[in-house]
Symmetry: C2
């Protein structure tokens, strides 16, 4: 009797799904048993969630059924929630069962980092999943409907975005585009609606050149966004936020985009972590647990000057491919390959037809950057699902 | 200098708009100054509100801009809210001004009658205006979104309708049609959704023959509606209703359709009223205030055996026309005409393609009744706005 190694992949986000797809391509018949575990039966594109959250896009546009991406003759799929990772016992406890493994890929994704700000966990909304963004969209619409029944409560029409990083800026851009339509739909005077973007750091979009960040802020300000830069949120309450400068912004809607940390399950599993992220070796393996690979938001990979790369989709996708390569090598007794991140650039959308970006060292603004963003999306869809997926999901 | 009599019409619902439209047709140049006062700049069709409330129709479909219905050279329109009626002083106090009149038409519409049931006023929603039904639609969607974030709270998916009269039945029919679509949109198992219709009286649809009421209940039960007939609501709470039989139905959504009373402003103005309705004379005038006409839900008109007619759109429309006739007669010093209600029949919709009705003495069920309902709507739109309005609003 031949026993083939068992590979379990936890999570079907960017890192997990890419690992699965690459393994499915590379592994020969009966070389390994691969099981992909995911909470939902779909993969979703986190970098697209700001659109359905604002209501400018549909949630279905941001997800793909997992069975469309994997070949079920080659990879088993288990829809379940992971409860515990027992790395040394080579066991995964699911909410409704358990799985054993020889090799594990931890690709569970991140969680919002609230930096201990009081009330933020309970009272803010996060752009983190299909369910959460559907909720945000409905919550925003609900405030317009509530306001019409209680016209003295114009605070229902104030929307606070915490964090002017990538997600905060992209979401604010979409919501600013959406507000005039909501005003029309609910007969609300647009002058009453406030969209406030609050950032504790000294600048918006810290990853971008100041010239691009300034451009982004100008575009959003023109769309009606008010910025409070260099102002920390001191407390989040059910009826708004208190800022470090003492000001209170009354609002029933606080969207927190201020930070990402690794999944708590990873900390609980006894890995050595920094803010929930496992510092992996050059081959994406956990220290002293060489049968466990970690990719995506749960992993910590350092670049030049030992500075950690920010957790992005791009990083997770490249890690997934590298992880699959190294898994195949491990099974075949071949040499693994060191992971090297190759940053192609970043593009941040600013709502319809507007974006900023640095791609392959060149900066882009406005319409050209928006087209670039579309191309990046297209490239990803093609990578995971080929032409059919591009045709089904892409809005050009 | 000629002084022409001043007519003020309060409210642009069925009764008020019909009075205005008929006056505009009948009055000659400089025969009277007519001012129509309404809270909103649109007229809406209350009998259509169950559709936008459930989300099966659009709120805009149920309203028409007042300026499209009246000729502004003939009738002044004031968008304001009435604060007080001073019948003897011939003065109307608005929230932002005042109007004097020689003749007044009170057509302010009804309010929900909660029969003193504790908590019903605070915790239930009512199908009473464009704003309230937009809120109901959003509230229902919001519960689906909330449930996805708190899957242990299946009570978010229980929807209670209080009252199995006309509005309760029509709304339940629409919502039952809508639920499968919401389940699909939010990835909710339809088996978890409950739609409970609670009626204190011994039967649903008391105005209809038992055979038709039974048919209606069968149609709705088939669509998934649970009936509790002969069961009063003892208390309404933020988290559901307590019934007279001791049962508690957990729900975040209680839509109350159990009764209509006249507008409180009419009581406060010192008219003799029964549940907020003014008992008018044969010419639709208030007792001892012959310069004040009352039409629609604020009026009480009795038919055979001195039994009051239920407040319906049909009654209000006929009253509006009769009121205009009598106003013109009064101005010209001609004899007024007694109001006689001519009941053409009633049709209750049960969701898509299903209805029951009695029209001109003949009973209808199913598809034929649904077509009859469309014809009634068409007739009304034609009466107030002619062919152009029919073409703009009708979905055949």
């Amino acid at each position: 009797m031949i026993t083939v190694p068992k590979i379990v992949i936890l999570g079907a986000g960017y890192g997990g799904i890419m690992t699965a797809i690459k393994l499915q391509k590379e592994l020969g018949y009966n070389e390994a048993n691969v099981t992909l575990v995911n909470k939902h039966d779909y993969h979703y594109m986190t970098t697209h969630l700001h659109m359905p959250a604002a209501g400018t896009g549909n949630a279905d546009q941001a997800r793909v059924s997992i069975t469309r991406l994997i070949d079920e003759f080659k990879i088993d799929f288990v829809k379940s929630t992971v409860v515990q990772i027992k790395a040394n016992e080579r066991k995964i406890i699911l909410e409704d069962g358990s799985l054993s493994f020889d090799y594990l890929v931890v690709a569970l994704g991140g969680e919002a980092e609230t930096f201990g700000i009081p009330g933020l966990q309970q009272h803010s909304l996060r752009i983190r999943s299909i369910n959460s963004v559907r909720f945000i969209r409905e919550h925003i619409r609900y405030q317009f409907a509530r306001y019409k029944l209680e016209p003295e409560r114009s605070d229902y029409l104030t929307f606070v975005v915490g964090g002017a990083g990538f997600t905060g800026i992209e979401f604010a851009g979409e919501l600013a585009d959406r507000i005039p339509k909501l005003c029309k739909q609910f007969d609300v005077d647009p002058k009453l609606v406030k969209l406030v973007l609050i950032e504790a750091g000294p600048t918006a979009l810290p990853g971008f050149a100041p010239e691009l960040a300034d451009y982004a802020m100008k575009v959003l300000a023109h769309k009606g966004v008010t910025f409070k830069i260099g102002t920390a949120i001191r407390e989040c309450r059910a009826d708004g936020v208190v800022l470090a400068d003492g000001e209170t912004v009354k609002s029933a809607t606080v969207i927190w985009t201020g930070g990402i940390r690794g999944n708590r399950l990873v900390e609980q599993a006894g890995f050595e972590t920094v803010r929930g992220r496992v510092k992996v070796d050059a081959f994406l393996r956990a220290q002293e647990k060489e049968h466990v690979y970690v990719v995506g938001d749960c992993s910590l990979v350092t670049g030049p000057q030992d500075k950690p790369y920010p957790p992005t989709a791009q990083l997770a996708i490249q890690q997934g491919a590298a992880c699959a390569f190294n898994l195949v090598a491990a099974i075949r007794g071949e040499a693994p390959r060191e992971f090297k991140f190759s940053g192609k650039g970043v593009v941040a959308s600013l709502g319809k037809g507007e974006a900023i970006g640095i791609v392959l060292g060149k900066t882009y603004k406005g319409g050209k950057a928006a087209v670039m963003k579309k191309l990046i999306d297209l490239r990803y869809l093609y990578a995971i699902g080929g032409i059919p997926l591009v045709l089904r999901k892409m809005r050009l």
